[in-house]
């Protein structure tokens, strides 16, 4: 079972955990990516995420399906935030449940690693003196 969401409002970690919880799951791994207050030592004021929404949701679903195939996990919730985020807010929450913990860890890590490579979402860091689209330039 897969729950994919792209939200303009605060992500609900507890809802992700509840979605993946089941009586035959022994291990749940959850990853929460939060907005850091600095990049390479330079203070970040806030972040903005822009998404190609339909494709982002489709790519997130593909990743979850691949993780289920590869690692034999049972349930995955994958929620990503869009819009303006303050320091400390969650940009992404991924919860994975599996009968045994190794698969839950591996699948969760696969999801975030792959999401960062393939899902069309872009992060703009806002500094005191300007804004930068992350990773845009070589």
């Amino acid at each position: 079972m897969i729950d994919i969401q792209l939200n303009e409002t605060a992500l609900q970690t507890q809802a992700c955990i509840e979605f993946v919880q089941s009586d035959d799951a022994g291990g749940i791994d959850v990853f929460i990516g939060t907005v850091r207050n600095a990049t390479k030592g330079k203070p970040v004021l806030r972040l903005e995420f822009e998404a190609y929404e339909t494709m982002a949701i489709a790519e997130m679903r593909k990743i979850a399906e691949q993780a289920i195939d590869k690692f034999g996990v049972k349930r995955i919730a994958l929620h990503h935030r869009t819009g303006l985020l303050e320091i400390g807010e969650a940009a992404v929450v991924i919860a994975v449940s599996a009968p045994h913990r190794a698969a839950a860890f591996d699948a969760c890590r696969y999801c975030i690693d792959t999401l960062k490579e393939t899902v069309p979402i872009w992060k703009k860091e806002v500094f005191e003196d300007g804004e930068v689209w992350v990773a845009a330039h070589p």
Binding site: Y52, P120, P138
Partner: protein, 80 residues
């Protein structure tokens, strides 16, 4: 024929708009579209790898476009 072009992130800043229509010869490829866009918006050439998607799927350089396709300019992603 005419395709719809979506631009995101830094690409949107370079093209100046999220949505635009682009006229192309029939059976134009992604490579042909890319060449046309880089000519029109030289800033695109300064970016780390820019991918293109057709109707929401990543497309290869040899993929052939059809009238009314939704094509997206996808600069390096940075979600998560």
């Amino acid at each position: 024929m005419k395709i719809s072009l979506l631009s995101f992130g830094i690409a949107k800043e370079i093209t100046g708009t999220r949505f635009m229509d682009v006229e192309l010869p029939d059976s134009a490829t992604i490579a042909a579209l890319r060449a046309k866009l880089v000519e029109q918006f030289p800033g695109l050439a300064q970016l780390a790898a820019v991918k293109l998607a057709i109707n929401g799927e990543y497309a290869s350089e040899t993929a052939v476009l059809n009238d009314s396709d939704e094509v997206a300019l996808i600069p390096p992603v940075s979600g998560g």
